[in-house]
Symmetry: C2
Subunit: 381 residues, 2 copies
């Protein structure tokens, strides 16, 4: 696991958006595990309901109510992380050759999951306001058929860090209605806006029952517990519940009960505050380091996200970021080349940089190494 | 949850094969959680490898070696319980309209999972030696095409409790070879033979790479942790690993590490001894109670399993066990009607009785109530 080692002579990793170890509330979870495993009837170790543990379901509804989203119990399904939510939506709604819209660039695993159900991907570009809804209309016209599903990561998108504007959210809902399409709102970073502010979710704005929202505790609490949740109209939840039963019976009960207890104890607000503060500092550090190390390079631009865990670096068009990634690793910095975020292997001169997982003090050195790798391949700008 | 309450004026449940609370090692797991959550880098709360935690993988291989099965690391994938193993096999190998052989009767969720991938089920009867391989040949001939997949629960089968004989295991492997078919060895009860003895697994007997074995800690340790494993030839494991990544990224890490620590601490042997002794006593109690309460009823027969968690009661052909289940509940005993174990709703006069989850002392009363319900519907035998 060299990639995850510290910069004391080793590699600085900007490759994965894993929560840094010091932001995982291990001590608290350890204390809570004593509480949860002392419950009568060994309930934390036995099977639980497929739809999720009652206490966790109640706590999630309360969490949502706290940010002004009023959701009924019948609209909620607990899942094994956000990934299972994605898989469930695709399993139920993507048949072979169905047209599925995705942002371009987008989350690698979303592309794999859509491919695993043999959906046909339609990539639509993003800009500073997120998915380009104008291009979406044009591309759908050109395709000569309407999409079945529209996958969108509305907040602090993977890999660009950009957020879909309110106007575009409304326009997207209107297109979904026109096309009789479903929107898959894939929203793991909603809670990680540095200012704590959030635009209304597509799920909250929707009045036509056209949105399934996939959420997770992976980015805000503990990915290793593999607990997430899905919001959808009750008939969809009911089908998803049946499908989930045939996938894993129920989500691991111990993890669910630990998170329920964490939420019940009122610890989430402090956890989110800590993450937002930590990630904002790291993002600022990375943007400053990019200005120092790449500010002189004509054609290099980067996003400056208002939340989340990554930003997107665009290098001059002649750059092959797959080659760059290899040389960068030799220089002691790990990155993911842009082609990973497109089914057509576009974005060869793009790079995803995760700012949340390295130590803050390692970030400038990591960016310097990236520039050194670039210079080795392409000469100083 | 009335169904799971004790017989103090409430319902005796023979409906589910859940591990009884007193057989779940809650105290030990609680202690181990302090150990596991004290590990450096908060590893139990972060993402882990899709193929499973290294320590758990090593411990599973050692567990298998202990019963004489030598398996390579490349043949192993950790899953979210046995259910995910089943789902993965069907996702990779069942295309719409593929012929899939199942035992008849068989595990309800296996039927649902096969149906979710639109496989065509071919039900083959079981007798005291398990799947009738002779009938399998005939039925495949009649079908006019060979099966893609053969699902079999070889040990203490759900719902009959019966075990596939060694001769039939060998014959089944030979048919799979002849038909170029894959065998899905669904084996959650392998470790629950009352004498501790096991026949060689199909996976162990296979020399042609035609078997995928699905196993789980759910029936021997703690279902709520949702941890199981799959054995298969390395190229199959490699495809399953990729598919699993798009399903849930990885199995919950905390549960995996708890089980690894449990195994490492050498606690499994005592756990299995306890379960085998407890379940044997309960099975003996149930068989004795059936003899007392149904011994006089012409046409009533029941299996007497050598392990596992359930037995199968056959009532006279005129019985509608769905009606019986409703009336039985009014009498204070929960059962599952036989039709749940067939895609064709056969076995209307069959009943699955789980003997492991009720208190031993409640079993005779539960069986008496079942007879009272029978008498109410059909008159005393």
């Amino acid at each position: 696991m060299t990639l995850l080692q510290r910069a004391d002579g080793h590699v600085v990793s900007f490759a994965t958006g894993s929560t840094p170890a010091n932001a995982l509330p291990t001590h608290v979870i350890r204390e809570l595990s004593s509480v949860v495993l002392a419950e009568p009837n060994a309930a934390a170790l036995n099977y639980g309901p497929t739809e999720g543990e009652r206490d966790l379901r109640a706590a999630v509804l309360e969490l949502l109510a706290g940010k002004g989203e009023s959701v009924d119990e019948e609209e909620l399904l607990i899942t094994a992380g956000g990934m299972q939510g994605l898989d469930l939506v695709c399993k139920l709604f993507v048949d072979p050759d169905d047209l599925v819209v995705v942002e371009s660039p987008t989350y690698t695993n979303a592309l794999s999951t859509i491919a695993s159900y043999e959906g046909t991907v339609l990539e639509v570009p993003v800009d500073a306001e997120g998915l380009r809804v104008d291009r979406l209309s044009q591309l759908v016209s050109q395709a000569g058929r309407t999409p079945k599903l529209i996958h969108v990561i509305p907040n602090h998108q993977n890999p660009t860090g950009l957020t879909l504007s309110l106007d575009r959210r409304i326009a997207l809902l209107s297109l979904a209605e026109e096309w009789d399409a479903l929107i898959l709102e894939d929203d793991p970073y909603a809670w990680l806006g540095f200012d704590g502010d959030q635009l209304p979710s597509l799920y909250g704005l929707d009045i036509a029952g056209r949105v399934v929202a996939v959420n997770t505790f992976s980015k805000i609490l503990a990915p290793g517990l593999r607990v997430g949740w899905v919001l959808a109209p009750p008939p969809v939840i009911s089908r998803m519940r049946a499908a989930k039963q045939g996938m894993d019976t129920c989500t691991n009960v111990l993890g669910q009960r630990l998170i329920a207890e964490f939420l019940r104890s009122g610890l989430m607000e402090a956890q989110l505050d800590h993450l937002r503060r930590d990630y904002r500092e790291k993002k600022d550090t990375m943007v400053a380091a990019l200005t120092v190390s790449f500010g002189d390079l004509a054609g290099a631009t980067w996003t400056d996200p208002a939340g989340g865990v990554f930003l997107w670096l665009q290098l001059p068009p002649e750059v092959d970021s797959n080659r760059l990634a290899i040389v960068a690793l030799e220089h002691g910095v790990a990155i993911i080349a842009g082609t990973a975020f497109s089914s057509r292997e576009e974005f060869a001169h793009g790079v995803r940089l995760c700012f949340n997982s390295p130590h803050k003090t390692d970030i400038p050195e990591g960016i310097r190494r990236l520039r050194a790798a670039f210079d080795q391949l392409y000469g100083p700008g």
